[in-house]
């Protein structure tokens, strides 16, 4: 691609980021990790994190923005680690050992296990962490940030 076209694409993307989100963290501050995260490994970033794989128990994902796991989340995920209460954690199978959003920490109740049947998203609603079905019907339903 010629330099001019590359600059044009970059500019377009930044414009989109500015208009689409009302979140503190723009769309283009995202990293994509293209592997499974094993026990003992940590992924830390001030923006959003997308994992293409599983997050095994004993692994930690710490993001200033949202966390999306395209696999099973079985470890610890901390979204909005810099204080953003609007951040979410979404996964194909949400069964973390611990879920943290901003300064809220939750886990499965004693004796029960997470039993995900479908992709789910966790967010803070009315001061508590709630888990809902992850719907992909556009911005109106997705409603991140």
């Amino acid at each position: 691609m010629s330099d001019k076209k590359a600059d044009y694409v970059k500019q377009e993307m930044t414009e989109l980021a500015k208009t689409a989100s009302n979140c503190n963290i723009p769309d283009n501050e995202t990293i994509l990790v293209q592997r499974t995260i094993r026990s003992g490994q940590t992924v830390q970033y001030s923006g959003h994190i997308v994992i293409l794989g599983d997050v095994n128990p004993g692994a930690e994902i710490i993001a200033g923005g949202n966390i999306m796991v395209l696999g099973c989340l079985r470890g610890i995920a901390h979204a909005g680690a810099l204080g953003n209460q609007l951040a979410v954690v979404a996964a194909f199978r949400l069964e973390p050992t611990q879920l943290r959003i901003a300064n809220h920490i939750t886990r499965a109740p004693d004796g029960e296990k997470w039993q995900p049947q479908q992709p789910e998203v966790a967010r803070i609603k009315n001061g508590v962490v709630v888990i809902e079905k992850l719907q992909s019907m556009g911005e109106r339903y997705l409603n991140f940030c």
Partner: protein, 263 residues
Amino acid sequence: MGEVIVITSGKGGVGKTTTTANIGTGLASLGYKVVMVDTDIGLRNLDVVMGLENRIVYDIVDVVHGHCRLKQALIKDKRFEDLFLLPASQTRDKTSVTQEQMRKLCKDLKEEYDYVLIDCPAGIEGGFKNAIAGADKAIVVTTPEVSAVRDADRIVGLLEANDLKNPKLIINRIRPHMVKKGDMMDIDDMIEILAIELLGVVPEDEFIVVSTNKGEPAVLDKNSMAGQAYRNISLRITGENVPLMQLDVNVGIMKKLRKLIGF
């Protein structure tokens, strides 16, 4: 030119030393030249499990520091001509050997032997780092327990970070009747988390206790289920395709009666 295989696990007590002894003996019984190296310096066990503890004069620390030649330290097995053991030191500790020394040792051993099996100590620090330094391939041993699988996952991550790609998995001490009841982890659950290739499954067998105390590896016994599993694993290492053993054997009425009476 042989290959150096490290047998590791992370968690202690899952059966690394037993596995090393049995695979080593199994490969030797198939006709290969094998040397087993015990790198658990200070807590050596491989010599006891092989029944060779009385024959130790020199050990790996002596070799690495140049006090003796490699050939002087190697102990020939009681039963097989082409099976050797390089024992660890009992009086020193893990700081006595460096990674560079291990690499050189493995390179020297690779030239003489078809298989160099390295028995790795438990943990993820110096002993582990020394053991994997010279290795070409890795085998991860685990038991069907949540804690063991957690540690095995950590180890797989560390192996991949140290360029030991595609480690193979051995699931040890599995009890099929507990798996059926749902009290013990299923093989498929473990592979789903660990995501590495399965090399073999070894059932829980009382005979292992007898064999380790006597110093005669279970592979040599015809009646032991664990021995049969280790024989199959040795064949798979050499490249043969052996189907997984049927582990839940239906005990017939006559066998049950005999068990009651005491035969």
